[in-house]
């Protein structure tokens, strides 16, 4: 590996230059100080300043160069790039050594650099969001060039089979249909089942923990519930497929109903169990921050405890509870492993939760783990589905944040 060796040599040289800069800077500053001049900074700070101005520009140039190489496809050989960076490092060393003077604020210079580096790190999270958006949108656009957006949104048949043949050189792919309605129907069915399990249990648990439970029960129950959220989703998927699905089939059989082993109920219920702690812990916080004066007022009017909770505390906490439910819902919509392992693969537009149906995330995984080439319509359809998923979960999260903000402003609580 030529490049690897080059990189190694570059790093070694840069390290050496850095060490040189450190000791040269420090010795010059010490010399100046021992000569009796008053200086604005400590010798070590001058030393670090020289190191930063030696290594900083060089690393910056080499990374930027690497980016340009990748982006433009320009063929500047790596050797030249690294050599140029080393030259820049040497120049930086000279200039900064020259700067080591009694009236130079080395500490403030370091401070500025550190501030910039920290701000740069903070920008990475922004880049991540844009990276997700950019990668999804650009591939989704390519998909919509092949298949119309309208057909994608309103079509009721999802049958990508023919596009696979087209990418293999057989057929022209005209038979492929990408109507996503059945996928969304499946997703919403499973999400609805999950919410039917999670919202009542989560909310009631939160009510119990915040209004009734003695302190020691609370300190045990909260972390125990959190364990439910910490279990990996692949484990839940196995649980749903191996344990819960047969139970559902048996129960359905008991009532004379015919259920598929890939029914929507099993992943829905298990997903609901997974979401319970998301809802209970946020609701618990919200209910706890409803001011006590409201409870006291209600009890003073002669309401029973149950009536106080139902008619005073819960309505006051409602924005927060809705926000928790929405967060849980966005979790459920984007959940992948449980449905991949326990729900079906067949796009199926039905209202019967005992039939097998598939979801958006299942199709994304199926499209990207198959052996089609990346350019095929099926692979690109994963990004179109991802785009819709991104938009929906983003909207849910934003509404949820707005809700909780309204609650916070109304009751002036700061810990949410």
């Amino acid at each position: 590996m030529q490049t690897n060796q080059l990189l190694l040599i570059f790093c070694g040289a840069l390290l050496l230059l850095g060490l040189l800069a450190f000791f040269a800077g420090r010795s010059k500053a010490t010399r100046l100080r021992s000569a009796g001049t008053a200086m604005f900074a400590q010798p070590d700070q001058y030393a670090w300043f020289t190191v930063l101005s030696t290594a900083g520009p060089a690393v910056l140039v080499s990374t930027l160069g690497a980016f340009v190489l990748l982006l433009m496809g320009a063929d500047i050989p790596t050797l030249y790039l690294l050599a140029a960076s080393l030259v820049i490092a040497a120049i930086g060393l000279m200039v900064s050594l020259n700067q080591v003077k009694p009236d130079f604020h080395a500490r403030q210079a370091i401070e500025r650099v550190i501030r910039m580096v920290l701000a740069g790190a903070a920008l990475i999270s922004i880049f991540t969001t844009f990276g997700i958006l950019f990668s999804i949108i650009s591939e989704a656009l390519r998909f919509f060039q092949m298949h119309s957006f309208w057909e994608f949104i309103t079509g009721t048949t999802w049958n990508p089979g023919a596009s696979f043949l087209a990418s293999a050189g057989r057929g022209d792919g005209s038979g492929a249909e990408f109507g996503s309605v059945p996928l969304f129907a499946g997703t919403f069915m499973i999400t609805a089942i999950a919410m039917l399990v999670a919202v009542p249990i989560g909310l009631l648990s939160a009510i119990y923990m915040s209004e009734y439970a003695p302190r020691n029960v609370r300190t045990v129950a909260k972390p125990v519930l959190e364990v439910l959220a910490g279990i990996p989703t692949v484990v839940y998927g196995f649980f749903a497929a191996i344990t819960v699905a047969p139970i559902i089939v048996n129960i359905a059989g008991f009532f004379g109903l015919d259920a598929s082993y890939n029914n929507a109920v099993a992943p829905g219920v298990v997903m609901g169990i997974m979401i319970i702690p998301f809802i209970s812990s946020l609701s618990d916080d919200v209910i706890n921050s409803v001011p006590d004066s409201m409870r006291q007022g209600s009890l003073a009017l002669g309401m029973t405890k149950g009536e106080t909770i139902r008619d005073v505390v819960i309505p006051a906490a409602l924005p927060g509870i809705i926000s928790a439910a929405l967060l849980g819902m966005s979790r459920a919509l984007g959940e992948t492993m449980i449905v991949v392992m326990a729900a079906g693969m067949r796009p199926n537009l039905t209202a019967n939760p005992l039939e097998d149906m598939t979801t958006v995330t299942v199709r994304i995984v199926a499209a990207l783990t198959g052996d089609q080439e990346f350019e095929s319509a099926e692979t690109l359809s994963a990004f179109a589905l991802g785009l819709v998923l991104f938009a929906v979960t983003l909207a849910l999260n934003l509404v949820s944040v707005l809700m909780i903000r309204r609650f916070r402003e109304k009751y002036r609580v700061n810990n949410l």
Binding site: R115, I124, G230, L394
Partner: protein, 388 residues
């Protein structure tokens, strides 16, 4: 419309009954959640614990001339269908390497077939009546036994159930987590320090904050799409490698680390900052020498919890191709690897009954690691937490 006292006290009783009902219902739902948890663990334990044991058969291996070309000749023909193919397969090679062994024979405990294993554990199996009878006889004689399954912990994946192990997945997980931690910890802490200690309160800072909260709620599979489109297709990071998986997971863990670090930094009282500023420290010196060391336990706790979360994540790794079949235990950041959750996912797709047990066994290993990581984080917090 006036009520008698009796009617009113009747009504009151009803209201109190209703009130009590709410208490019992809410208590019941918390109990239900706890019951789910207990059922879940009981189910996993009952399915997974047998995977830690494996059937072995005591047999006479005769190293004859014929065995050098055909390993099956070395065994008792009656036992052959019960013995694992992996044992038979290595005989010729062993003989070629040690020619002086030809002509000798020795009694050994060898790995049994997964069907034998399942039969002994009372699971569904595909042994014929005669094979079962022969097996029962040997169990009586003490020649067939369940022993600790060292293969499961000591080797990589295999298509032969009795030879499949989780070690290559564990190694893959460790490598991926190293990449994840190396990227997300410094960047996350730096971001949090910037937002809490340096950033001016302007629109850009607010945008970053909203964005981080948002990132924490984006479905994990979308991070996989990002990893595939940007890291693999654009930057050319090798597919299926711990590097690609680790980078993808690092972006996912970033918000967790940022949020917990900010909480930890915020809990350091301002008086400490003021004192440090008072003796002439610069902003960075205050952060480096005072705030960060005091916030470190909180930061570590948050990072460990984030790491545990990343360790259990599967969906984005499937998208970047980390569901590879890895029979060898190897360590390289750029070669194909698999991780524990992905290994569990692969095994769960195998049709053989023996793999159900392997899957549950793998799940137990994963859960043990995750629970001990989380417990460690809690202990860390309890031990070093300071109330100001």
């Amino acid at each position: 419309m006036s009520h008698t006292f009796d009617e009113i006290s009747q009504q009151l009783k009803r209201r109190h009954r209703k009130s009590a009902r709410l208490k019992w219902i809410s208590m019941g739902s918390l109990g239900l959640a706890g019951l789910f948890l207990i059922l879940f663990f009981a189910d996993m334990l009952s399915k997974g614990l047998p995977a830690f044991q494996q059937a072995y058969i005591q047999t006479e291996i005769s190293y004859t001339e014929e065995a050098e070309s055909d390993g099956r000749q070395a065994f008792d023909q009656e036992l052959l269908p019960l013995i694992s193919r992996t044992v038979v397969r290595v005989i010729p090679m062993e003989l070629r390497n040690n020619p002086e062994m030809i002509g000798t024979s020795e009694a050994q405990w060898v790995l049994a077939n997964s069907e034998v294993d399942q039969y002994l554990k009372g699971h569904r199996h595909r042994l014929s009546e005669e094979e079962q009878a022969a097996l029962d006889e040997r169990v009586e004689a003490g020649q067939v036994d369940l022993r600790f399954n060292s293969t499961f912990f000591g080797s990589g994946d295999s298509k032969i159930a009795e030879n499949a192990g989780i070690l290559s997945a564990v190694v893959g997980t460790v490598m991926t987590m190293i990449v994840t931690l190396l990227i997300s910890f410094p960047i996350g802490v730096m971001t949090a320090v910037y937002l809490e200690e340096f950033a001016p309160d302007n629109r850009i800072t607010q945008a970053i904050e909203i964005n981080i909260n948002n990132l924490a709620a984006i479905p994990s599979i979308l991070f996989g799409l990002l990893g595939l489109a940007i890291f693999i297709n654009f930057f050319g990071v090798p597919r299926s490698s711990p590097l690609a998986g680790g980078m993808t997971l690092a972006l996912m863990t970033l918000p967790v680390i940022i949020i917990s670090t900010r909480t930890a930094l915020r809990s350091v009282p301002d008086s400490i900052r003021h004192a440090a500023f008072g003796v002439g420290c610069s902003n960075w010196q205050v952060v480096r020498d005072h705030v960060l060391p005091l916030a470190m336990p909180g930061i570590m706790t948050g990072s460990i919890i984030g790491l545990a979360q990343a360790m259990g994540e599967t969906a984005p790794l499937i998208i970047v191709g980390m569901v590879a079949f890895i029979p060898d235990v190897g360590a390289s950041f750029t070669n194909a690897a698999t991780v524990m959750p992905a290994q569990i996912f692969t095994w769960s797709g195998e049709p053989e009954q023996a793999f159900v047990e392997k899957t549950a066994g793998g799940i137990l290993v994963l859960l043990t690691i995750l629970i001990s990581l989380n417990a460690f984080a809690v202990v860390l917090r309890k031990k070093f937490e300071r109330r100001w």
